[in-house]
């Protein structure tokens, strides 16, 4: 997909001017925040489970090569095949080759952010395959020609009326007089259309929430059941997963599953958690005949050992964006690539380069709400700061910022000079405010005064007044 992260500021402005989007973003709060809080409150061990989940991933990342090798061995033993893809292009090629080898016409897909990351749909369609997203949200945005704006609620930016209009436009063989007012009728219509696609698909492509080294299993976690129909009905099941999805054992994945749904949707457990291991067995009446796992690196192996390694603990629950006031203001598309919100602000520069994604880690107040809810205890603000450091070191930050910063730093490191400047500043601002308590404009403060008044100082600096008081007390 086209990267628009460099024009983040313009994207954000457009998003904030979009009344439909702003209305839809209200659903983020309604849908997620209170539910998570309730689910967390119901489980006294939740904080300990977060520690446990973090430790499991840290251990796994420290031994990633060995777990991946064991995982591959187990997949192979079960009759499946692991394909290693260094980058998006290689991943696409592997998948296209598999589809070609089985002469696939119709392909169904479960929700997969890796599929978005490697822009798989466009490649499959260009090769003449019919591709259907089957997660309801993904289906809606596929009809709209859009990309997900949220990693677990891809169509959170879309309103019901827009869905109805899209369904009427695309499902043009259905009677136009049908009533689609209720969300239930929209769901029923999508269910009917997609059921037919499930039953006639040649290849099913899913993502994976986890890969289990002990057993060679891939795990998907869903509520709709679409992922399951995608992976049991077609002849071929392809799993797309990035390599950090690995966990050692079933016990380990049980720990992380306990924090995943609660953090994501506030459910105690998602409706369907499914472990797939290899293709169907000889005696099985259903299941795929072929099972492929495309293991994507795409820059992740280079994050290990850096200050961004902790990001590889991410389990894509979306809690960070659900709680992010910046995300609430601008939605997911403004971030300009696959991953929005705080996790995207850290991951995107790693995957597309800080020269393109550098705006994202800057657009944070460091309020820390993301870190406070992250089930994997990823220090997201700290890593956004690390990106700012990389930018600063590479002289990528804007010249005005650098100039302002160095002027300020010069004074801040010289307390006497600093005091002189602040005295003058306090006096000047105070005079300019003419006893009105605030200024409507001030040079170089346009970003501030465009939207708010600048409170006026009280006239003298604290240091000045404190010194005067002490002097008066002595004399």
């Amino acid at each position: 997909m086209q990267i628009t992260s460099p024009s983040f500021k313009d994207n954000a402005r457009q998003a904030m001017a979009d009344a439909d989007l702003q209305r839809a973003l209200g659903n983020v709060e309604k849908g997620f925040i209170n539910k998570r809080a309730k689910a967390v409150a119901k489980l006294p061990e939740f904080e300990d489970l977060r520690d446990s989940a973090r430790d499991i991933k840290n251990h796994t990342l420290a031994h990633l090569d060995l777990y991946l090798e064991h995982y591959e061995k187990k997949v192979t033993e079960a009759g499946g095949k692991v394909h290693w893809a260094a980058d998006a292009e290689e991943a696409r090629k592997i998948i296209l080759d598999i589809c070609k080898s089985v002469d696939a016409k119709r392909i169904t897909k479960g929700k997969s952010m890796i599929s978005e990351e490697i822009a798989l749909n466009a490649a499959l369609e260009a090769s003449g395959h019919e591709v259907s997203e089957t997660d309801l949200g993904e289906y809606i945005i596929q009809l709209r020609g859009e990309h997900p704006s949220h990693i677990i609620a891809p169509a959170i930016h879309v309103n019901k009326d827009q869905v109805e209009a899209d369904f009427r436009r695309v499902h043009d063989k259905l009677p136009p007089e049908r009533n689609l007012e209720a969300p239930e009728s929209l769901l029923a219509e999508a269910r009917g259309i997609l059921r037919e696609k499930f039953l006639s698909a040649d290849v099913g492509i899913t993502g994976a929430n986890f890969l289990v080294a002990e057993t060679g299993s891939s795990i998907i976690v869903t509520n709709e059941g679409n992922g399951d129909l995608t992976q049991i009905l077609p002849r071929v099941h392809i799993v797309t997963a990035s390599l950090e999805k690995i966990v050692p054992t079933l016990e380990d994945v049980s720990q992380i599953l306990r924090v995943l749904a609660r953090s994501a949707t506030g459910q105690e457990f998602s409706v369907y958690t499914t472990l797939s291991t290899g293709p169907k067995r000889a005696e099985d009446p259903d299941g795929p005949e072929e099972y492929h796992v495309v293991l994507l690196d795409n820059g992740r192996s280079s994050m290990i050992g850096t200050e961004f390694q902790d990001m590889l603990r991410c389990i894509r629950c979306g809690a960070c964006m659900n709680h992010c006031p910046v995300y609430h203001s601008i939605g997911g598309h403004a971030y300009g690539w696959v991953y929005p919100g705080p996790m995207g602000s850290v991951l995107t520069p790693s995957l597309i380069g800080v020269d393109k994604g550098g705006q994202l880690p800057n657009a944070s107040t460091f309020c820390g709400r993301c870190e406070s809810v992250c089930p994997m205890r990823i220090p997201l603000p700290k890593m956004m700061r690390h990106w700012r450091e990389r930018e600063f070191e590479r002289h990528l930050s804007p010249a005005t910022t650098r100039w302002g910063l160095s002027a300020w730093a010069y004074a801040a490191k010289r307390p006497k000079l600093y005091k002189m400047i602040t005295r003058l500043g306090a006096m000047a601002l105070n005079l300019a405010s003419r006893n009105k308590g605030a200024l409507r404009w001030w040079p170089l403060a346009g970003g501030w005064t465009k939207y708010r008044d600048l409170p006026a100082p009280q006239g003298k600096t604290f240091q000045q007044m404190w010194a005067e008081q002490k002097k008066a007390a002595r004399s």
Binding site: L49, H63, M303
Partner: protein, 223 residues
């Protein structure tokens, strides 16, 4: 170099790990062998009867219906009653499961029991769960001729039978049973952990049941 080798080499370089490092290998081997348990919530650690009650309550919290049968022999009639009470046709599809096959189906004369996988034409499916998890009201179903996975997803109504003694406290205890049954490191093709009926909140975060899987989940606890 293949991508496989390149990726593994990059990881090892990033970790400053030498390929022959015995300590790392031993650490991985022991974790895989021992599969240490982590934090297990106290919630499910209950004596039999309370555990089963918790299991039922958690399922009801996620819009499933639950009934308890003292005797498996009553199941065919109770199942027929259930279908009738929901105005569903007296038909059911199920696999070759031993428990299900051994039921006195003659007691429910009107009920049409089809054996095999589901193909999307059936209105109700019947499965026998391998285990249950009281902690969250989760069912574990295993693929195979006994309980084909399609039965879990294609029919609109899914009825799951579970023996009371198969309801464990937590995921770990049910996974442990699975390991015993299949051998360590081996799995059936599909293991479904099911907690409630299919749902979606993708339209304006409004929760709707019956997205792609069953709209209705009914659990019959035997024993």
């Amino acid at each position: 170099m293949s991508s496989r080798e390149t990726i593994l080499a990059t990881i090892r370089r990033s970790l400053h790990a030498s390929p022959g490092d015995r300590t790392r290998a031993a650490s991985v081997a022991s974790r895989l062998a021992d599969a240490p348990a982590g934090v297990i919530p106290a919630r499910g650690q209950l004596p039999d009867d309370k555990r089963i009650k918790l299991f039922a309550k958690m399922l009801e919290d996620v819009s499933a219906t639950v009934e308890r049968l003292a005797d498996a022999g009553d199941l065919p009639e109770r199942l027929a009653d259930f279908l009738k009470s929901h105005n569903l046709p007296p038909q059911i599809v199920c696999g070759e499961d031993e428990l299900l096959a051994g039921l006195p189906w003659k007691k429910a004369k009107t009920l049409d029991v089809k054996t095999g996988r589901a193909d999307g034409t059936e209105t109700a499916g019947l499965s026998h769960a391998f285990g249950g998890v009281a902690e969250t009201g989760t069912l574990m179903l295993l693929s195979g001729p006994a309980n084909p996975t399609t039965v879990n997803f294609l029919p609109d109504t899914h009825v799951v039978v579970i023996r009371a003694e198969d309801i464990g406290s937590d995921y770990e205890s049910v996974f442990a049973r699975l390991r015993e049954a299949y051998g360590k490191g081996n799995m059936p093709r599909t293991v479904n952990l099911i907690t409630g009926a299919s749902r979606s909140a993708d339209i304006e975060q409004t929760l709707l049941l019956g997205a792609h899987g069953p709209r209705r989940l009914h659990v019959m606890i035997v024993g």
